[in-house]
């Protein structure tokens, strides 16, 4: 059961083939069995998760209309405030802090009855790209425990790859969702800036930070995005517009007539041959499926990394100055 996708789990729950308590317990058992080796989790909220699961099952038994992911478990990156649950950002500085409030992402997850299993490991304050820089020790890649799971959200990506959770939340400033997804064979999206509220997300670099959905399939990522995205008056950069219908798009898979830009300036050195080949392959697949591939130019792209190295340290010095 734990090897199913989140949408398959949701279908089984809706059909009454299993309960959220059973599904949650199966994931808790998996965590007990493998997390000593993987170390994806910093905190497992056994009691809270089972209570949340029991509440969803009760709602379902009463015939209440439930959200598409209701009862499906999720792993939460430890950079997100969750009321009453330890939130450390992978740092000893915040050890023992139990936030008195929920971040908007967590509030949205709870409102949609997504069961939160616990908090996942990360590079300290999300600064890093290997999850080796957590004050609580590194996370290991489930495919090969001698390798890194990417970072900073290596706990979330490893939890997905190790079947400890079918859904996870990540945050991405300079790759912290996308790169861990790439090196664990999972799916992660950095949504459009302002698409997901940053309220209750411990800030690293405010003009770059963005929370986003992680899962093992594109459809699951889309389902999770529609749960967490949307306008939030508590975040001044939140987009006040309807959330794009990514679930419908993921289900149809129709790319006919879609124009896809490939940035010319990213055509440089530094790619492993295998990575390059897979990228070209995906372009071929998209073209065969009817998409139009066009070359676009972003002439300032070569300055992006240098700009990042100014923006990110400046903003994090300011955001974290009070620690």
């Amino acid at each position: 059961m734990i090897r199913n996708s989140a949408s398959e789990m949701a279908a089984k729950l809706a059909a009454g083939e299993t309960t959220s308590v059973a599904l949650t317990q199966a994931h808790l058992d998996r965590i007990t069995a493998v997390d000593t080796d993987v170390h994806a989790f910093l905190y497992v909220d056994t009691e809270g998760a089972l209570a949340q699961a029991a509440a969803v099952d009760a709602k379902r038994a009463k015939g209440e209309k439930l959200s598409p992911l209701a009862g499906v478990p999720l792993a939460l990156k430890d950079v997100m405030a969750q009321k009453g649950v330890p939130t450390t950002c992978g740092s000893k500085i915040l050890e023992g802090w139990r936030p008195p409030y929920d971040s908007t992402v967590v509030a949205n997850l709870k409102k949609n009855d997504v069961v939160i299993l616990g908090k996942t490991n990360m590079d300290e304050f999300a600064m890093g790209s290997s999850t080796e820089n957590s004050a609580y020790g590194p996370t290991h890649n489930p495919w090969d425990l001698t390798r890194i799971p990417g970072g900073s959200g290596g706990g979330s990506s490893a939890a997905l790859a190790a079947f400890e959770a079918p859904l996870a939340i990540g945050t991405d400033t300079g790759g912290s969702i996308r790169q861990p997804a790439a090196v664990t064979g999972t799916v992660g999206v950095k949504p459009t800036y302002g698409g997901v509220s940053r309220f209750g997300l411990v800030a690293f670099s405010s003009s770059l930070d963005q929370a986003g959905p992680c899962a093992r399939t594109v459809l699951d990522t889309a389902l999770l995005h529609e749960v967490i995205a949307g306008h939030d008056p508590k975040d001044a950069t939140s987009i006040n517009a309807p959330v794009p219908q990514v679930v419908a798009a993921a289900k149809s898979g129709d790319v006919k007539g879609m124009k896809i830009g490939v940035v010319k300036e990213l055509n440089g050195d530094g790619y492993q041959p295998g990575v390059r080949a897979r990228f070209e392959e995906s372009l071929d697949l998209l073209a065969k499926a009817g998409a139009e591939i066009v070359e676009v130019s972003a002439p300032n792209f070569e300055y992006a990394l240098a700009a990042y190295y100014l923006i990110a340290p400046s903003e994090c010095s300011s955001n974290l100055a009070n620690l």
Binding site: S207, A306, A307, Y309, L310
Partner: protein, 98 residues
């Protein structure tokens, strides 16, 4: 190309009241040099003719209506305080008496 020497870093660390080992001073001076290189790179393009941008959204400053909404109780707000007094955070004294 600008750079920051080990001694420059030691001086900064002293001003910031941060104790640093010899190894940390040397590592940081290398890291500062990378950041200074980044400044130089960005200066190549960030001239007067370039419009400043922070994000691509058509957003100006955002205000909310001035209405009272539920917020944390004093107990909740102070739940993480190492020390408290009269519903306030208690912090070590940093100025002299009086």
């Amino acid at each position: 190309m600008s750079s920051l020497s080990r001694d420059d870093v030691a001086k900064l660390a002293g001003l910031a009241r941060i104790e640093m080992s010899e190894e940390e001073l040397v590592n940081l001076s290398n890291e500062f040099t990378v950041i200074l290189d980044a400044v130089a790179r960005v200066q190549e393009v960030a001239g007067a003719g370039v419009e400043p941008t922070s994000h691509p959204l058509p957003l100006r400053n955002v205000f909310r209506a001035d209405v009272v909404v539920p917020s944390l109780t004093p107990e909740e707000a102070l739940s993480g305080a190492p020390a408290q007094e009269e519903q306030r955070f208690r912090v070590p004294q940093i100025l002299g008496e009086e």
